[in-house]
Amino acid sequence: MAKTILFVEDSASVRQVMKTALTREGYDVILAVDGRDALTKLDGTKIHLIISDVNMPNMDGITFVKEAKKLPTYKFTPIIMLTTETQASKMAEGKAAGVKAWIVKPFQPAQLMAAVAQLVMA
């Protein structure tokens, strides 16, 4: 059975690229345009991994992670931050919120997929 991944990103192009890359690897992909939209997708559906951007309108990625971790169903769901943000303070904030990995754009699909597979299987 295919694993399900929730991808949160405000950029339409990156959403399309990631959807293509993840679908080619055999994952089911749920897309959300920002943190607020992503919270509405956490409706009890089994999600094996969450990949989120940091800087987004309405609700940023770190706030979304904190809110997601409050939900019992998704408390232990691994989360990857996929962002252009390289500030150490932001990374520390993400780590404190419960993020498992921090990936800086631009990314090589193959290397990203390896990290995704590692966390999905964990």
Partner: protein
């Protein structure tokens, strides 16, 4: 005390003792009289007398009370007036003393402030370069009025100087007059243009990514279809397997034709063997003819001998005639047999000739067919091999194209980075626009114009950066992005 005065002013002090004593007296009279009618009448009269006594006493009490209150009031008023006069006198004296002290203190404070103001004014004059400070510093100022008069004079001089300097500066800056207004109008337009370009780019790049994905999927489907059509040497489907099966079936057909041709040659050999039998038959027919001739001669001799014998040989001559007839018949049969055998020989020869011709033609046809089939199969095999090679090349090309598409996906992420950079530029343009609006508003309200703190502005802009490349560009350093290596940090 007030409650007590109120109590007495309401006559309760008179009424209570009278009514209690009257009630007790009436009760005593009734008891002592044994509650007889006369005793009760006396008690009632006692009560009436008590009530009358109450009203008389009340009247007297209130009159005397008014006299006492009036007296007390007069005396209290006189005492209060004396106290107020004394207090007022004391208060006036202390107020005058305090105010004098305060005025002195305030005067000293104002003099200090004015001295500071003069000092600051000197600094300001220095900055505008319009006053002689040393001469002013040497002046001794003795009073506030002197300070103020001096300051007024110097302010007037400074304003004149600033006006003249402003006129000079305006004339110097004539080339950029209206720059603020231009910025106020053009900055929102620039922001809108950048936003529009960013949105168009994002939409186009998303479509581009979707199309690349579609191309990749179609290519994959074409490769799979080609593989299914061509097949491979180790699989049991596809055109290669079809060719191999066809080759086997055609080979079995040519083998069957070869076998049939061989049988036909055997049949021809059998027919050729028949010709030897016809020669024997021809010899036998000749021998029959010879026997018939010899028998005829023998019958002729017998007839001659019977004629010599006369009547005794008449019977023998009949037999000789019959024998001669049989000899003729045998000779006819022998001739017919010879003719028949000759006909058979001719027919067999004709058949052999035609059969040889057909057999040779069949052999050539079979040889030709085998040659054509071999050639066709060779062409098909070569075509299948080329097709398989093409499929393999297509598969390799597909792998290369997928790698290229993967690289394209990396490059397409530039849009996200560009979008973030443009968003920050737009935000800074809007910030500048708002700042200019505020400055314009303050200028309209007659307030002093604030000076733009450029260093603070640039520092705040730096704080908004999320990528190290932005910071490098801000500092004018070349910032190359390594797209071959993804930065991944696991926590």
């Amino acid at each position: 005390m007030n409650e007590l005065v109120k109590f007495y002013r309401n006559d309760y002090g008179v009424a209570f003792p009278l009514f209690i004593s009257g009630g007790l007296g009436a009760l005593s009279l009734a008891i002592l009289g044994g509650f007889t009618m006369s005793a009760l009448i006396m008690a009632g009269g006692f009560i009436v007398a008590t009530i009358g006594l109450y009203f008389w006493a009340r009247n007297r009490y209130q009159t005397s009370l008014q006299i006492v209150e009036q007296d007390l009031s007069d005396r209290f008023q006189q005492e209060q007036e004396q106290k107020i006069k004394a207090l007022q006198q004391t208060h006036d004296e202390s107020v005058v003393r305090v105010c004098t002290n305060k005025v002195e203190i305030e005067r000293e404070h104002i003099e200090a402030l004015l001295a500071d103001l003069v000092r600051r004014f000197d600094e300001l004059s220095n900055r505008f370069g319009g006053q002689d400070n040393e001469e002013r510093a040497a002046t001794t100022l003795l009073s506030v009025e002197t300070y103020i008069a001096d300051l007024t004079q110097r302010f007037d001089a400074l304003i004149c100087h600033i006006d003249s300097q402003t006129m000079i500066r305006e004339s110097q800056d004539l080339g950029i007059v209206g720059l603020d207004s231009l910025c106020q109008k053009v900055l929102p337009i620039w922001s809108n243009q950048i936003d529009m370009a960013r949105e168009h780019t994002e939409e186009s790049v998303a479509n581009l990514a979707q199309r690349f994905d579609g191309l990749s999927q179609r290519l994959d489907a074409a490769i799979i279809a080609s593989q299914n059509t061509v097949g491979s040497h180790d699989s049991h489907s596809g055109i290669v397997e079809l060719f191999e099966n066809s080759q086997l079936e055609l080979r079995s057909i040519t083998e069957a034709l070869s076998a049939s041709l061989a049988e036909k040659w055997e049949m021809l050999h059998s027919i050729e063997a028949l010709s030897t039998f016809t020669e024997q038959l021809s010899k036998m027919a000749s021998e029959v003819s010879n026997i018939a001739n010899q028998t005829n001669l023998l019958a002729l001799n017998a007839a001659i001998q019977s004629a010599r014998a006369g009547d005794a040989g008449h019977g023998f001559s009949v037999v000789a005639d019959e024998v001669r007839k049989l000899a003729h018949s045998s000779g006819d049969i022998g001739r017919k047999m010879t003719e028949t055998v000759d006909s058979v020989n001719v027919a067999i020869d004709d058949t052999l000739t035609i059969s040889h011709k057909f057999a040779q033609q069949d052999k050539r046809t079979l040889d030709n067919a085998e040659h054509i089939i071999a050639s066709v199969l060779m062409h098909f095999t070569r075509a299948a091999a080329e097709l398989a090679d093409s499929t393999e090349r297509l598969r390799n090309e597909n792998t290369a194209i997928n790698n290229e598409i993967s690289d394209v996906f990396v490059d397409l992420q530039f849009q996200d980075r560009v979008s973030q950079i443009l968003t920050l530029v737009c935000a800074d343009l809007k910030k500048l626009e708002q700042h200019l609006d505020e400055l314009h508003s303050e200028e309209s309200n007659g307030k002093l114009l604030r000076v733009v703190n450029v260093e603070q502005w640039l520092e705040e802009l730096t704080q908004t950066y999320t990528m190290k490349e932005q910071l490098a560009a801000h500092e004018g350093v070349d910032a190359s992005i390594d797209t071959n290596q993804t930065t991944i940090t696991f926590f």
